[in-house]
Each structure stands twice: as C-alpha cells, then as structure tokens.
C-alpha cells in the first residue's frame, strides 16, 4: 500500500497556516503550553458560524480548507479524521454546565458540538460531501488509524483522493487536569530546551493538520507515503526495531537508505529512552530530528510530524532547529518517523521523495 501526499493544510503553534513558510523563526514558549496560532476564520466561515463553533472545529475546517486548496481538489472521495479528545472545549463546557447548574437549564449547542465526529461531519456538510466519512478516537493511534484507512481505501480502489486530518485541542482546564497525572513538567522550561531536559513530564501542545492522500502521481506531490504502523505496548525497543525492519523490507529498502529519522522526543526522560536508544544504535547512521518543541505533546502530534516530513521531502531542506546534531546530506530521499504517546502507543511512518 502506498499513497502520494497531494496537499497539506496545518494550524499549529508555529506560523504554519501560510503554506509558503516552512518553520522559519520558530515560536518558543516558557509556559509549558504551546497554543496554536490561528488564522482569521472569516475567510473560511461566515461570522455567525464562526462565533458559534468550538475552537477545534474552526481549526479543523480551516486546515481542511487550506489543504484542499493546496491540493487543488474540490471534492474528496472520503473524509477521515483522527482525534483523541474530539471537541474537548465543548465537552468541558457542557460538563461544567451540568455540574454547576445541577442538570438544569441546559442548551444543546455544546453537547452537539462535543461529539467526536463533529469536525469530519462539518467538513462534509460544508462540502456537501456524501462520501465515506470516519472518525478514529484511539489516543496516540487516532491519526495513524485514519492514515491506514485512507491507504486501504486507495488500495481497494474505492478512492482516488482522501482528505485526512489529525487534530486535538488543549484547553486551560485540561492542562490542569492532565497536570494531576503528571503529564507536564513541574518546572517551567523553554520549549527550545526541551531536548536537553533531564526530568520527567513534557510540555502541552495542540494542532490540526490535514492532508490529501492520492493515488495519482504528480510532480507537485509532496512525498510518497509508503507505510504506517501502530505498535501497542511493545515489550522493548527490539519490537520497534523489528517493525522498522519489516516496513523497510516491504518497500525493498534497508536501514542505510533512511536519510532522516524524525523522533517524537518530548523531553520526558522516561518516555524518550526508546527514541534515544534507536538514535544511538539501530538508526545511528541516519540524521536525527525531533518536533515536539514546536508543537508540544498531544495524541495526534504524528500529523505534525507527517507535515514536517512532507515539507522536507518537497523542499529538500531541513530547518536547522529540528536537527539533533549536525549532518551533511546531499539529498533527502527516505524519511522515517518514530513517535510515541505514553508507554502504550508507538507509531512508525515511512516516506519517500516523489
């Protein structure tokens, strides 16, 4: 199975919704919480809708719209999203109203919007797209399930162009809730220093990244997606190495052909051990990069990494501030992503230059 990345659209804590810019002048934070830089939604929605809609819905619709424009595609054959927490802001709003008003005087708007498939539904509604429509909600596998589904639709011959998105929002409230289970660092850290951290915990992030995956070869495509794999609770880094070797063998590649590996290093000393081990051993001959200092930690951060891989392969440039170490690369032909969310969800992606 394989697919071409025909278009991208991304709203993230970096200046990314303008498609021309590729991570110039990275945005930093010292608050352990990277917020998305959002566009004016009036370009994408009428003012009444924009006022009513939850933030993640707006981010999703805007990113999808940027993506379709970038791909020069009007109607996708399928819309698939991955989101672990769905429309978190609206969920909190309705939940808080239930508790504070003791189950009285409730209006349905935030309940309706809190349903996890709202973003894919709203995109379908806007496009009047009656095609295949799916939403995956499995923690650190949410976006990767969407990617696999899209590749399958293409392999089955049931779709030529599939719009996929990975999106999650972080709210002030959920930042506090997750702090209770020690997801974040206790000390404040500069996001650019994340990789040098020696403590546990990470920094919060969010984002909405959309892609058109296509079966059509075209010189304007960003990259070729050659594989995605989710690994649930691996016993050790050997399980990851095994899956990498299977993925490479499936594509007639070997370990030496990987020019760049993008790691989901998030600055948590416990969680980063597999990344660091792979980087210094099994994958030591490939250049190494990371990304969570730019987008923060969230369940669908794999979509940010995928966007980075697509951009690198298309522009043949690697922003210096994502590299771990210095490398001399003549050309970048194959990129591997290894990301993880917690100890349970580990994912791999393989991309090649068009």
């Amino acid at each position: 199975m394989e697919a071409f990345i025909r278009g991208t659209g991304i709203i993230s804590p970096q200046n990314t919704f303008n498609t021309a810019n590729f991570l110039l002048n990275p945005v930093e934070t010292e608050s352990n919480f990277l917020h998305c830089i959002e566009p004016s939604y009036l370009e994408f929605l009428n003012p009444v809708m924009a006022r009513r809609m939850g933030r993640i819905i707006k981010m999703g619709i805007a990113a999808a719209s940027i993506c379709l424009k970038d791909a020069k595609l009007e109607m996708p054959d399928a819309i698939i999203t991955g989101t672990a927490l769905g429309c978190l802001g609206d969920t909190e709003k309705f939940l808080t109203a239930i508790i504070e008003d003791d189950e009285l005087f409730l209006t349905p708007t935030s309940f309706i919007q809190s349903i996890q498939n709202t973003v894919s539904a709203q995109i379908a509604l806007q496009l009047k797209c009656m095609n295949y429509n799916f939403t995956y909600v499995h923690k650190g596998f949410s976006f990767e399930s969407a990617v696999l589904d899209a590749m399958m639709l293409i392999a089955e011959g049931n779709a030529n162009n599939v719009l996929i998105g990975g999106l999650d929002e972080m709210t002030e409230k959920n930042f506090l809730v997750y702090d209770r289970i020690n997801l974040w660092k206790k000390e404040k850290i500069k996001s650019s220093e994340l990789i040098h951290s020696k403590t546990i915990g990470t920094i919060a992030g969010e984002g909405a990244a959309f892609f058109v995956l296509s079966n059509q070869e075209n010189e304007n495509n960003y990259a070729k997606l050659k594989g995605v794999k989710t690994i649930y609770k691996p016993n050790s880094q050997q399980d990851i190495e095994k899956e990498i070797s299977f993925m490479l063998a499936d594509n007639n590649l070997n370990i030496k052909s990987i020019d760049l590996v993008i790691y989901g290093i998030n600055g948590d000393n416990n969680l980063d051990s597999i990344s660091n081990f792979l980087k210094d051993n099994y994958l030591k001959n490939s250049a190494a990069a990371y990304f969570k200092h730019l987008c923060g930690e969230y369940q669908t951060s794999g979509s940010f990494a995928m966007w980075m891989a697509a951009k690198i392969l298309k522009t043949q440039t690697i922003p210096e501030h994502i590299l771990i170490g210095t490398y001399e690369l003549d050309s970048i032909n194959n990129i591997l992503i290894y990301n993880n969310f917690g100890h349970e969800n580990h994912v791999l992606y393989l991309f090649s230059r068009v």
Binding site: P108, F134, T135, M152
Partner: protein, 400 residues
C-alpha cells in the same frame, strides 16, 4: 488477503440480558429491558425510561472475576463482558495463534465516572483514586482495557462516529481482514449511561419519558440505553474447520451531509449506505429476509430511515423491526449489539418484534414486524446504524 469475512463468535450485554442466552430469552418472551434509572445519580431519574444493564459495577466485576486492582469504568466493564463472551463463542483460547486485533467504539468512554469527580480535579488539595480515572476520558482507554483483558496486541483502534460507531468498527475490521493485515478481529462497541448523555439528549428534547415506540405514527422520541456488543470476524484461513455463524457479506458508509443532528427528510445518506452495502455484497434487495432497523423512535430518524428503506425495497419491504424498544438506544454500542442480534437471527431463523407499535406512520407503506417469528428462513439480514454528524452505515449478514 481473504475474499470472505466470516462471523465466528458473538457476545452481548444489555438491558435484556448479561449474555446471549438471556438476551434470546428476553426477545422470545417479548420482555423489554426499558425501565427506571438505578445506577446513575441524575436529578431527572424519575422522568426517564432507560435501558440500563441490571447489574452494578461491583456485580459486573464479580461476574467476570475481575480483580479490584485495576480501575475499570462501566464502559470498559461492559466491553469486557461482551468481548470475552464473543471470544469464547468463537472457540478462541489461544489469542497468539493468529494475528488478532480489536476495533471498539464508544461515545463517552469513562465519562460516567469522570463527571462525578470533575470538580475535584481542579482542587489540588484533593487526592485519591478518582485521579486514576483521568485517562478514561480518552475513548481509546476502554478499548485498551478490553484488549489487555483479552491479550490482544496485534492491532487496536477505536471509532467514534456517534450512533453509527460500532457498525463502522465492524466495517473497518472486515476490511483489515480482506486486506490481509489481520486474520481475525474482535469488533463492536461499548457505552454506559452517564449524566452527560442523559442531559445532552434531554436538552435536544428527543427523549420519550415513556417506553419508546419505533416506527409508530405517534412516536415521541428515544430511550437511552447502555451495553456492549462484539462479534469475532475471521479470514478464510483462520476460520477453517470452525463453526461459522454467518458471513459479513456487505457494508456501506456514507454521510447525509444535511444537518449536524437531524437526518435529511428523504434519508439520502441512509439510502446511499444501504445501496453501497448491496454493491459490496453483490446481493439484490429482494434477497433480504429481515431488516434490523436503526429505528430510534425519534420523529426524524424513523421517517428518514423508513423512506430510505422504501426507496431501496419499493413495494417489497421485508420484515422490519427496531430492537431499541428492548434495549434502548445504546449509542456507540448500538451497531455492535444489533450486529449480534442480526447474526442470531440467521443462526436461529428468527425475526424479532418491534415492540410498542400500534399506529402506522402515515408517510410509510410498511408496518414493522410485531411478532416473534420462528418459522422463517432467515438467510440475509440488513442492519442499519445512523448517527449525528450525518454518519450512516449499513451491514449485511448472510447465511453460508
């Protein structure tokens, strides 16, 4: 790669029984599970009719011999119940023998517990067990607990497309087998009642405070329910030499693209989902012996679905019934629960009654089936699941 996808096991828990045997008995006795709310502490308790599972969380733990150590939500407990029964029914005792996955569906995950402690999360002085439930708000959490209970590791994912969720998990599982990525997969969904969903549907004003009346001219709304339903899908290779319950012959997914919560008046999305499922199965509509309808009992759904059914079947609508007057609307679990009932309809050649129906809908030409039929040959069953966000899905189960 596998040309065909077989159903080899089923498992269910709902308001009408903790397992297959109890469920079949309730259906045969025409005994609905709709009643009062016992286990959710809502101020609207007395004004609701719900399909609640008749066991407390402690009883559910005991029934399955679950240890007190690991925190379980009601959603994951219900899921473990049904998924374990499905594996046993499929005769699977060695999970590692073939590549096995699980695709589950849920709408609210651990909300039923989190909502009781939500305020405390913001009070850093308060510490205790309630903190351990924070990760359960993530829908995938219940799937991981079920997977860990069953020992499944090869593929795991969770789907949430409102009330069509489980039907979609069944569809995705079938495609994983056809693509050759898995040999067998446990598919379905689980949901438990919560104040969150109860108040959500109350605010939408689509709940009937009396037992619901699907496809009735005087229907007033739906009853919420809870439960879990899972089926085991297997490839030709792994199902060899096993007792096969039926084939999952068709599936279709579409989007109504009409309104965030209301179905289109002509049921365009429902029509497309059914049409696609016929295309995949290669069957023509006249082969269908029974339709297990989505039939929530709301004004909008039953009209939209009814018209779409008429558009597909013309004047030859086979027996139709909604089993939601038995179980309530179990939201993301509905497609799984109704898939189990569809498979059992084929296995036992039975058609279930649509309870509480007394007046035909003036817009429709068909009357839902009102009796428990046992003298029928049931070879092909169509099961519909539709949800908010316009998600529409249909499945076809076929006798071998």
């Amino acid at each position: 790669m596998s040309e065909k996808v077989y159903v080899t096991g089923v498992g269910i828990i709902s308001a009408i029984g903790n397992n297959i045997a109890e469920t079949l008995k309730s259906l045969k006795d025409q005994r609905s599970g709709i009643g009062n709310l016992s286990y959710v502490n809502s101020r609207h308790k007395d004004q609701l009719s719900v399909g609640e599972v008749k066991n407390s969380n402690e009883q559910l733990m005991q029934l399955k011999g679950l240890q007190k150590g690991r925190k379980q939500t009601r959603t994951s407990l219900l899921g473990i119940h049904a998924a374990r029964e499905a594996l046993i029914s499929a005769g699977i005792d060695n999970i590692k023998e073939f590549r096995t996955g699980i695709i589950s569906a849920t709408s609210v995950g651990g909300m039923g517990i989190v909502e009781n402690h939500y305020k405390d999360y913001f009070d850093i002085q308060k510490k205790g067990e309630f903190l351990e439930y924070i990760p359960t708000l993530d829908c995938g959490d219940s799937t991981e607990r079920i997977a860990d209970d069953l020992g499944i590791k090869d593929y795991i994912s969770t789907i949430s497309t409102a009330c069509s969720s489980s039907a979609n998990s069944i569809m995705f599982g079938a495609r994983l087998i056809k693509m050759g990525l898995l040999d067998r997969v446990v598919v379905g969904g689980t949901d438990s009642l919560s104040r969150y969903t109860i108040n959500g549907f109350l605010s939408l004003k689509i709940l009937d405070k009396d037992p619901c009346k699907p496809f009735d001219g005087l229907r007033k709304g739906l009853n919420l329910g809870e439960g879990a339903g899972f089926i085991v899908l297997e490839s030709e290779k792994s199902a060899k030499k096993k007792e096969i319950l039926c084939e999952l012959s068709g599936y279709g997914n579409s989007n109504d693209a009409f309104h965030q919560t209301a179905s289109s008046p002509d049921g365009a999305g429902a029509f497309l989902a059914m049409q696609k499922s016929f295309q995949v199965s290669g069957l023509s509509p006249n082969k269908i012996d029974y339709i297990n309808a989505h039939g929530t009992g709301t004004e909008v759904n039953d009209l939209s679905e009814g018209l779409a059914i008429e558009r597909i079947f013309g004047n030859n609508v086979p027996p139709v019934s909604s089993t939601k007057a038995f179980t309530g609307h179990t939201l993301a679990a509905a497609g799984g629960i109704e898939a189990v009932l569809s498979v059992l309809a084929i296995k036992y050649n039975t058609i279930y009654p649509n309870l509480n129906h007394s007046n035909n809908m003036p817009e429709l030409c068909f009357t839902p089936e009102k009796s428990f039929l046992t003298n029928k040959s049931v070879n092909h069953v169509l099961s519909n699941s539709f949800g908010f966000g316009g998600n529409t899905s249909s499945l076809i189960f076929s006798k071998l």
